[in-house]
Point group: C2
Chain length 470, copies 2
């Protein structure tokens, strides 16, 4: 017995693009397996007009819709809840590059384009699309915009929000907003674009975007520095900002514990130092407009001065692309090495950069007081004030012990962040996982404004219920 | 006979800060004298709490409020309409710098701070606050954010929107949103900040902001190039972007007519060329992280290659700060020279950069066909696709002739902009002057979303009625 909505959607999209039962399962769990959701069906429209038609049908039947891109989110914002009454709408078939305009330095892509394919299309046109993050081989640009993705190049180029000039959005009633403008300046009315960006699919379905492109760097140079304290890291960042200005494209902080875990876990990986006993390391990357000799000379000048000032204890400058890749590989292996170590409690927080040293020192100490033996594996994008503040079980304990610590431990961390003017979600969003945290830390007036906006734009509450809004 | 609201406001703020009659007049007309408004009184609160108390009183009496900063807007968005039933709320007394955090590269200022004083406070702390525009000596940062101001440094640093990390806002009911966060990454909920920025006081009253700071350039170098065609300007921009990357901080296009008008109007001003017969000129500025010799060498290398490629016909590189200032002074004198020439029809438009050459050529030609003899004085921020497309009366005609042409002529210009995917307001906003244009060019779905948001956040319609929304 097939219901009317399913029949209508099959007629619209073809039976091959309306999935149920086993075929639907891969779409219903997030990759971290935090949430096992249900849906009456998975719809896979291939065009914006079909997305609009799906939304009109769902609105007519009063059926909620969860939009999904690459399903690589960290907070289960792209999978439905357990109710099973809704439609999972996959944007994966909207995967065309619609236009590249090198004179305007813009690219227009559909929501289902994999991030890496956008980077590649830009590079083939002699341009850089700088958004870069771990999941770039499978995440999709619609999801990147829906969650305002961050990553490693934010210091120079900003978040996904800052890289987007225009959007095409299907609203809850199926109407299409044609906002694919490639304009650097447009003060004609409210900023609808930034309202949809980061709204995690709760206000509309992003179907395409016009994005900024940049010149390709003439040379990239990378170095790894060892530091004696977290306070030195803040001073070193200030020196790099002043010395490199906008050529500073990476400033990745890693605790010594993170780096030691990587080389212990993956024996083929080596750090460029005889010992790894410094408490902190920083990976510095610059992207130069001139050439490699100029980039290396700049890097040597600024890092040399930092050595002389005692802000860094040691430094290794990559002399080849292979050496640079090896340094970045150390950084990118932290998450996998942590997973090998067992479960860990992850906190994706941001702080004013000036508050980071105090936060790390006082929170590390408070954890040892209240949860003796837990192990900190802190790393992150220091230039953005963004820390991945990870806490692993004590050596002698098991995952269940850590699990039992979770509510109290995470509240301790988040209370400290909140007390210093920080955010409990720097780059990953709220999803289904952090709605209770949002209710705990957001001001009542902010929650009231958010609910009023949701009610104004999606009065039926059809778009991604259970996500973002507590 | 004094009404209850006036009495309450005098008790709250002191009689000296509640102005009526003659004292109120300076606040009720915009500086371009486009609108002569009326108000029952002018309130000058000195703190955010007082702004909130004013709003609570006005809400209780159902009295509309027009917020005003430096009253330097181009579209009369900061003055009331003719009704005379409302309150003009001046933010000028909220003029403190609340904090500078050089480790976080942020400054927190109140809405009534004059832009130039924010620039100076940043510079005193060894940092750059890059927002820069003609009115910087009297415009206020609250108005800059309320209108998402642009200016000459957008190419590198973005509009006011991109320079703002956090806001403090008083809502229509007097509640205060404490959103002064100094975070580069914060994905905890809808982007309320960007909704208030550019809303021209119709959604809330910005009382303070946390803004981004940047390193001071080690050297600034400036050049003036003569070009043979508008197509060359687009090619020259692409070369400068590729050659200078983020050190390119200025790329100001000026027609030969603009430059000739300046040197004819102000005999003490000289262009660095023997003749001024090129159709287009571009002022190029770079801001270097190293030193002046490096900056000059880079400028010479890239501009030399442009000369060789025939993209520019001639170039003069300023060899001193005085010479650079003289080049910028030419650019900044265009508006004043135009005012000396008589009335002119101004259009503040933006386009994809790739569409600018066609727009200029085809629109100039269409104007001559429909309005023979009118004179174009086009200049603007080409790197942002932002043109100030000014049209002056035919030599032999008077201002009244031009005035009679206005509706048809402006519609011709704006239709052309709209047809090429551009915006009829690049950096000046909508205010009271352009609401009919907004109704003409905005998609119905955009107007519907804007009205729904307005209704959700200011259900009583008390904030700046008559501005922005048609």
């Amino acid at each position: 017995m097939t219901d009317a909505l399913t029949q209508d959607l099959r007629a619209l999209l073809g039976a091959a693009h309306v999935l149920t039962g086993e075929d639907a399962q891969p779409y219903l769990t997030d990759w971290r397996k935090l949430v096992q959701g249900n849906a009456r069906l998975v719809a896979r429209p291939g065009t914006t007009d079909d997305v609009a038609a799906v939304m009109r049908l769902c609105a007519a039947h009063g059926v909620p819709v969860t939009p999904q891109g690459g399903n690589t989110g960290q907070v289960a914002g792209g999978v439905p809840g357990a109710e099973g009454d809704g439609v999972l709408l996959s944007l994966a078939r909207l995967n065309r590059v619609r236009a590249i305009d090198t004179d305007n330095d813009t690219i227009t892509v559909e929501a289902g384009c994999v991030l890496q394919s956008v980077q590649q299309a830009a590079e083939a046109a002699g341009r850089l699309f700088p958004l870069s993050l771990g999941a770039e081989g499978s995440c999709m640009i619609g999801g990147n915009l829906g969650t305002n993705a961050g990553g490693t190049q934010v210091l120079r180029y900003g978040n996904a929000r800052e890289l987007c000039l225009g959007l095409e959005v299907v609203l809850a009633d199926g109407e299409i907003w044609h906002g694919l403008r490639g304009l650097r300046k447009d003060n004609s009315g409210y900023d609808l674009r930034d309202l949809f960006i980061g709204s995690e699919g709760t206000l509309g379905i992003i179907t395409a975007a016009t994005l900024k492109l940049f010149p390709l760097p003439a040379a990239r140079c990378t170095a790894l520095a060892a530091l004696g304290s977290i306070h030195d890291a803040a001073r070193f960042l200030a020196r790099c900002r002043a010395g490199f200005h906008a050529t500073l494209t990476g400033f990745e902080l890693m605790s010594g514990a993170c780096l030691r875990l990587v080389v212990e876990t993956y024996s083929q990986q080596r750090a460029p130092f005889a010992t790894l006993d410094a408490p902190w390391y920083v990976l510095v990357e610059i992207s130069d407009a001139e050439d490699e000799p100029h980039a290396l000379a700049r890097l040597e000048a600024v890092l040399g001065a930092a050595l002389e000032a005692g802000e860094i204890a040691d430094v290794a400058i990559a002399q080849s692309t292979a050496q640079a890749d090896a340094l970045w590989h150390l950084r990118e292996s932290i998450t996998l090495a942590l997973a090998e170590d067992g479960k860990c409690l992850k906190h994706d927080v941001s702080l004013p950069v000036s508050a980071v040293p105090h936060f790390v020192e006082s929170t590390d100490a408070a954890l040892q007081q209240h949860f003796p033996g837990v192990r900190n594996f802190t790393f992150g994008h220091l230039g953005d004030g963004n820390l991945h503040y990870n806490v692993a079980r004590p050596e002698a304990a098991d995952d269940a012990t850590l699990h039992a610590m979770q509510p109290g431990l995470s509240n301790l961390v988040h209370d400290a962040v909140h007390g210093l003017g920080g955010s409990i979600s720097a780059e990953q969003g709220i999803g289904r996982v952090r709605t209770a945290d949002l209710a705990r830390y957001k001001q009542p007036v902010e929650l009231r404004l958010m609910r009023a906006i949701k009610q104004a734009i999606d009065p039926g509450g059809l778009l991604n219920p259970g996500v973002l809004l507590p």
